[in-house]
Amino acid sequence: MRIPIEMLSSKNLAEIDACMRCGECTKLCFMCEMDYHELTAPRGKMTLLRNMIRRQYGLKAKIFGPKEIDEKEFKELMEHFYKCTICGQCQEVCPANIQTRESWEDFRHALFISTGLAPMEVHRPFINSILEYNNPWQQSPTRRARWTRRLEFQIKKLPEEKAQVLYFVGCTASYDTNIRIMALSTARLLKAAGVDFGIMGNDERCCNSTMLRVGLKEEFMRKSKENIEVLNSTGVDIIVTSCAGCYKTLKHDYKKVGTIDAEILHSVQFFSELIEDGKLKPISPIPDRVAFHDPCHLGRHSRVFESPRDILTAIPKLDLVEMDRSRKMSRCCGAGAGVKSAFPDIATRAAEIRVSDALKVDASLLTSACPFCYQSLRDASLRMGKIEMRDLTELLIQSVSGTK
């Protein structure tokens, strides 16, 4: 088979040449830590890809003709490209600043989606569900706003009603009964701060992050274009989301598709501002030793490191403790970019390793700001005991309202 390098960008191709196999990425890649194979390592993928491209486009190929790439070898490479949560740790330590946070998605799209080898079978149900129901969880769109029934107040429904702030709930917090608490806590906090806000209810659509992460760029562009129009129809000034994945997608990835008229904020950014302005007052103490897990899409991908810590330090008696690897060096929970569905064992072990990080610093509570991290780390902490996983919004509403 032929490698469709025209589907890549010039930058992608320069990056393949820029990797000098120094191995800094290999040292810190959590996937290598658990399931080491030279091709799991970012540098291994780059090296093999460079060799393949040279076989087809290098000097020898020019003189003697390109060599065929063995499909089996290419499929093996594909498996390793998908055995990656695109957590972005490798970019953080790459001396050549290879922009893996973006390039891994570009490679998935150009090399495997465009050749028809991907998406992987296990990812198809999620993708079809987004295409059909606007959520990856194969749930009916008419049930999206069900979580609001547990609220003790009414929320405005946009765009029929008008508000200053749109709370973009996201699919996972909307549908997963274990995670609805994130949506509930966020809505309660917005209400407590007196924010004029609303939700799109059953008309909210998936941010399409899943599609982009697995490499379905064209579908992502098409669906997201529609979504931008829907979001702009609300006429809000600010869009707040409590999901790190939705935040990264709306804030950074949508720029490649169009323009959202509103400012995009993650709930931790919005709430830390509200605390600073005195509109949210965390008064009840939470006397626990708390470790904060930086979600990859919020931290490394969006450079939001301080806001969640500002919130936690504002809670009386809360003892914020940093894990050995945090902020830019945060270890991934192991769930993202299709890994949890394609390689569930790896995702499970990765989450347990992350919970162990928290146990090592004697934390009694582990917290984060992403429903996907929450799902994985909560399951792992329930299995392991000794530590409880709670979303940051849960802790904040507990401190603000004085109830657990």
Partner: protein, 233 residues
């Protein structure tokens, strides 16, 4: 005669160098996906960036590409060794081009010494760090070995030169005197010249191509992310 031959070798080496660079960079331009540039062509984006963000780009070239800020933050030791080799060679190139005789004597040796220390650090790291992240294969061996051969042949040449004029001035002169029986200055000069030209010609064909590709991506990503996040991350 030897000068003419070496000049011809030099021309061939440079042709091979530029041909190699052309071959590799022409592959970059086969990539047609411009979605990350919002469908502007590469040239359009480049020209616009140069016009709009001259200051930022200069800053990126100096800190990210030349002084390799990222490597500094990753490992001070690796950065030091790498800087010794990188600026050692830059210094040597400047000294050779400037061809100030006094500077050849003094600065050339300083830069040579720095490169030597840098290579030594690389060899020690690769020999003693027993970690799967540090893998040395043939390509790495050739790169480090080539650097070392260029350097050692240069030291010998310098030793011979000094040995023949002022025998006590330099450590190299002792080596120079000791090998003077088997090698004369002219031969060594020719050997060093051929090795150095071969080194230049080899750059685009192996690991050393990162000298060109890595500063490009380091700067390119830094620019894109500076525009996205407002800071160079």
């Amino acid at each position: 005669m030897a000068v003419d031959v070496l000049d011809s070798i030099g021309v061939i080496a440079l042709l091979l160098f530029f041909f190699g660079v052309y071959l590799r960079i022409s592959i970059w331009f086969k990539g047609k996906n411009t979605s990350e540039m919002n469908d502007h062509s590469l040239r359009e984006s480049f020209v616009r960036a140069l016009k709009e963000d001259t200051g930022l780009i200069l800053k990126i070239i100096v800190f990210e590409s030349l002084f390799q800020k990222r490597l500094f933050s990753i490992s001070k030791i690796r950065w030091t060794g790498h800087m010794f080799i990188f600026f050692g060679f830059i210094g040597k190139i400047l000294v050779h081009w400037g061809s100030w005789r006094w500077s050849l004597d003094f600065l050339n040796e300083i830069f040579g010494f720095l490169i030597f220390v840098g290579i030594l650090m690389a060899v020690i790291r690769r020999s003693y760090v027993k970690d799967r992240s540090v893998v040395t294969n043939l390509e790495d061996g050739i790169a480090v070995g080539f650097l070392l051969i260029v350097l050692v042949s240069g030291f010998l040449l310098e030793g011979l030169r000094m040995g023949s004029f002022e025998p006590e001035s330099f450590f190299g002169s002792i080596i120079g005197v000791s090998i003077a029986d088997s090698l004369d200055y002219g031969t060594m000069w020719f050997i060093h010249g051929v090795i150095s030209y071969a080194f230049i010609a080899y750059i685009p064909y192996g690991k050393l191509f990162h000298i060109i590709a890595s500063p490009v991506t380091a700067g390119w990503t830094a620019y894109r992310e500076a525009k996205e996040y407002g800071v160079i991350s």
